[in-house]
Symmetry: C2
Subunit: 346 residues, 2 copies
């Protein structure tokens, strides 16, 4: 005598209703925590659900309510620590609110690749979109394709067509640079990220502001690609000139590659050159020398992004957006500038 619901199809709200001897609507009410249900009835319905191993069908619910309970994440470089951490935090926060997360990675940063990823997400009927590690182009495509759902970016973009978390990358970068200046460095090079990345641009801006404030001469920044390999390459080029005493790298990976190149060239960090990174990835405090960097709370950033987005989706009251200011963490890769004949005066 096997249970009768073995007919291939999953049990529906109506099967539950039949077993509990109520109408399908009553079952629906139990599901949605409707107030006016007699406790006794509710209990009977829950019992029936348990017996039948009932699971609500989200497709059906989405169809009728046109709410998918899903948010999309558009991510670039999702394999690196920062974005990956934020994605995980987003997933956590979304789950807490009963939301699902659908991720699309930007393998390819061409407009076509971007449009493709967005199109993919839109097929899923997402209610909102979080854009991670964004590039300027992404927002242009996004604006052009009028997706019809609110979206949040993890970095201030300056655009007015969407919400953005204010992570004050400019201040973070400025503090990093000021730290070097405070140690007496006057010849500082910036190893930047790709300039179509919003955060790369912001970090460069912070650097330039600090240099400008201190009235120092400007070395042309080097445009990198965020990778440790590029850091190494850039370092190899830099050692040929040796017209600097410190480098501010736009992220930790590049900083680590950079230090490797300096080491290979016989330069001591921080004895000969000071290096500052950005992000404070977990290994930053363990590499040799330990890396002075700027800490970002990626987890908190992810959480806030979801809060902001869902707030917007549900259209309730405006949430206050507080600035997140990254924090300088001083470690062993920076030191006062070496006193040398040529660099003492002025």
């Amino acid at each position: 005598m096997s249970p009768p619901q073995d007919r291939g199809r999953a049990p529906s709200i109506r099967d539950v209703a039949r077993l509990a001897e109520v109408s399908h609507q009553t079952v629906s009410r139990v599901l949605n925590d409707h107030p006016s249900i007699r406790p006794e009835t509710r209990e009977r319905v829950l019992q029936a659900m348990e017996t039948l191993q009932y699971r609500p069908n989200r497709a059906a619910r989405t169809l009728v309510t046109s709410r998918s309970n899903t948010i999309g994440v558009l991510a670039a470089l999702s394999t690196t620590y920062g974005p990956a951490t934020s994605i995980a935090a987003i997933e956590d926060a979304a789950r807490e609110q009963g939301y699902h997360v659908n991720t699309a990675n930007l393998a390819d940063t061409s407009p076509a690749g971007i449009a493709d990823a967005i199109e993919h997400l839109m097929l899923q009927a997402i209610e909102g979109l979080v854009v991670i590690a964004p590039q300027v182009r992404v927002f242009e495509v996004l604006a052009a394709s009028s997706i019809g759902v609110p979206f949040v970016s993890l970095q201030s973009t300056g655009r007015r067509d969407h919400l953005a978390l204010s992570v004050d990358q400019v201040t973070g970068a400025r503090r990093a640079t000021q730290h070097l200046i405070g140690l007496g460095h006057r010849e500082i090079v910036h190893l930047a990220g790709p300039q179509d990345w919003i955060e790369a641009e912001a970090r460069m801006r912070g650097f330039l502001e600090a240099i400008d404030d201190a009235e120092l001469g400007l070395h042309p920044p080097i445009l990198g690609d965020w990778t440790a390999d590029f850091g190494y390459y850039a370092g190899s080029e830099l050692v040929r000139r040796r017209d600097f005493t410190a480098v501010f790298a736009a992220n930790d990976e590049m900083a680590i590659g950079l230090m490797h190149a300096f080491r290979d060239a016989g330069l001591d960090v921080p004895g000969d050159v000071s290096v500052v990174g950005f992000d404070d990835i977990p290994v930053a405090k363990h590499v040799a020398p330990t890396l002075t960097t700027v800490y970002q709370d990626f987890h908190e950033i992810g959480r806030r992004a979801v809060a902001l987005l869902l707030n917007q989706v549900h259209g309730t009251e405006r949430i206050e957006v507080e600035d997140i200011v990254p924090r300088l963490v001083v470690r062993g890769s920076t030191a006062p500038v070496a006193v040398r004949p040529a660099s003492v005066a002025r």
Copy 2:
């Protein structure tokens, strides 16, 4: 004279049909690439879709076909390089097949946390599940909750109730250990991962096999938690004993923390102690000293997982599962054992 479809509701297949002067079924056929449609009719329908900015409603489609075109990913430690890379690869591969990816992270590895994440994914009506960086417990919970969809694990679990990629961690770990033995090391310590992790257990097994084969004495392995911080802690403890000449760490992060501790204690790597890691994260080749490690192609692993899973989902012919064998990468953190009075003999 604004377009007439501004009535709030998104255009449906029927709106398109009306505009193209065909039946809704014809539109459906165009959508699904049905063969018997006159090119002229198809064109007219496509035109109408374009005009109305029509987008198929996935919820409706899922409801009627009971295929969600979505796979789930259950991930632990998704913020680290390996899992994050595999997740990105999974997303890519799935997207190529028109599939969406829904991720749930295991913040908390308690059975309740695991069950919660699985339940969350099941609500989404996924067609299959990829389990990343799995712990033994996950599969127990998974087996117990009889989710009714195929799932694939990224590591061989030895269980028979699901598919698994064969990434031969055991061989990888054995090669790492043999490399140390080949350099003359006889006192080798293993800094392992948590033993409820399948890959940690496999790496430990490879280590033990190599030690056993070489008939060396066994140092009790240290059980870590994968983090660089723990590596540092373990290293600080180890330097008090100094009864070893090499350490094989179960992943690169711990290896980096370890080297930091040795450095702080005045030990030279590889002069006094050799260190091997596992994974070959991008910074491994840039830290000081550059880290000898075992390379894993996380991207390929992710791709194969999707291929295997979708193959299972569609029930076509069995796919051949080829072993992926990780590759030893020798760098600067390992060297022949130092010749010292006590260790020359034997």
